[in-house]
Symmetry: C2
Subunit: 329 residues, 2 copies
């Protein structure tokens, strides 16, 4: 394979077309994002060329204004940051390491918002050591950002299938903060605003949650049998693990580690949604729980249940519906 | 790398969550798309696992309703087909072979349109032998589809840089049909409708254009020095080649192969746009033009210009602006 040196692919190429238009925008956006390592041909050609591996992880997630975020609550930078982190969370849930991303963004105009979006994207990319290798910008009535992320597997690839009866279900971190933050913000009552002030972590979780890449890698290395990220909510995602693995699950409701303020938010808003946590749910041989907890510290690891031969999902012994986030519900 | 057998990742896993909702939709959509070869973990997990290569091509393109297509003109199936083909065209322009795609789609509801979109996507994927390995569906006020495509390089990777003074600029196929079709349809005058009836290829090019994958591979094998796909329009895209290669270009305006009906459309609509062709523009040593023409037959190959030491773009000797499509103009 012969590759033209990257230096010849400078983005100045696009300067020739209509300064101030789409191409100038792309160039401004690229100033905010890292190009990463292992990139043989970066942005500015028809396709990027990256250094691959025998096995590659691939995932995509799209965030749509009004559905996943509200620009009165999240800044464009928050949205750019989150768009990459939700994808990184999927790669983490396979035990992999995020490497290269391509970004398609629809924005109403070529102004400030697009640039802030790129700033947030760049922040996430630097934290994750991900190269932004290509993209597409489109004028769209509302902000929409779609990212596809390539990752490299770790020593083991951990899918949703593989949990066995007797395995422990463990979760990283604390749950419910992002959904509580968004729910309280939308409720916008005096009590809701007071809770948001008392627990600033709630809105921070919605705006600026981080993917558990280190923890996912450690879980794979420690012998995780199945793993999923908690984007839909604990019960829904645990239900995915059960279905893919052909097992059931007993959840200890009292053991679920709620983030500070989530219990208070649920008392105020009984129909509060769930999901959007980007923590990991991990099926682990019980003898490995301590080891993994030590490996990922200071990130908490909490055992919240046990997989069973008996199918179905039970919380504290009672059958439970795998509630979760459904865009079309 | 240990991989869980694919059979255990059946999409039935998602059936457990709210029949009729997002997960059932995903399942229905997947019925229409091929899973491809080389896929170790397909749709239904946090990320797909595909067989990689030492070098991988990556690209993304997003189509937005009202901007790239009008559902009064293109069916959802046309949109799904096109969304994959525009990405395949980018991989073709590097001399590569499309392999795996992830698809993020925003649709107003979980109804018929989403399913037709998947049908069109599946048609394109089968034609290209591409596996749809993952996706994301979102409820959105208008249809938006974003695809990221992975490809494998051929023997040589051909970028936009590398054209040398004296090289021939050649184009595949015939140009202008898609833009003429859309322009006439939007004009919607009696004369415009008559032209569309006389030249059905114009609307067909906009709705159902095919990527030149075979031709891109042949061009790379025949010694193409630089290549780009004509999504922005011949002069704009030739300008990209010039800027990336550090050369100028003399275009022979009369040699540009217009598709049947394009000249008539331009006579009717002097401000007709350009681009959206998905033909390839290829910089080639002049001695190789015949050879490539033979290799890609029956697809036409036409020499339309010569790269020059002197910078700038000239058509029939007069300086030309690299006009093209700009979403933010």
């Amino acid at each position: 394979v012969r590759v033209i040196p990257r230096a010849r692919l400078a983005w100045r190429s696009v300067r020739t077309v209509r300064p101030g238009g789409e191409f100038a925008l792309i160039e401004r956006l690229l100033a905010h994002v890292p190009s990463g390592s292992g990139v043989l041909v970066g942005p500015g050609d028809d396709a990027a060329v990256v250094t691959g591996a025998a096995r590659m992880l691939v995932t995509t997630d799209m965030l749509v204004e009004g559905r996943h975020f509200d620009l009165a609550l999240s800044s464009p930078a928050d949205v750019g940051y989150k768009a990459l982190m939700v994808n990184a969370s999927d790669v983490a849930a396979m035990g992999g390491v995020p490497r290269y991303a391509v970004v398609a963004a629809g924005v109403p105009d070529a102004g400030e918002a697009a640039e802030q979006l790129a700033e947030g994207l760049g922040e996430a990319a630097r934290e994750l050591d991900v190269g932004i290798v290509g993209g597409d910008t489109v004028a769209a009535p509302q902000v929409v950002i779609s990212i596809a992320l390539l990752g490299e597997p770790g020593e083991r690839i951990v899918t949703r299938a593989g949990a066995r009866p007797g395995d422990a279900l463990c979760v990283t971190g604390e749950l419910g903060a992002a959904a509580a933050g968004l729910g309280l913000w939308r409720a916008n009552t005096t009590e809701a605003r007071e809770l948001l002030e008392r627990f600033p972590g709630l809105l921070r979780a919605h705006r600026h949650g981080r993917a558990r890449v280190r923890e996912g890698g450690a879980a794979a290395a420690t012998g995780a049998r199945a793993m999923i990220d908690l984007s839909d909510g604990l019960l829904a995602d645990a239900g995915h693990l059960c279905a893919a693995s052909g097992v059931g699950l007993d959840v200890d409701g009292g053991a679920i580690p709620l983030a500070p303020g989530v219990a208070e938010a649920r008392a105020l808003l009984p129909r509060l949604g769930t999901g959007d946590d980007y923590e990991l749910a991990i099926a682990l041989p019980p003898g490995r729980v301590e080891e993994l907890a030590g490996a990922i510290a200071p990130t908490p690891l909490t055992r919240v249940g046990t997989f069973t031969e008996q199918p179905g999902l039970r919380v504290d012994g009672s059958p439970a519906e795998p509630e979760g986030w459904d865009h079309f519900a």
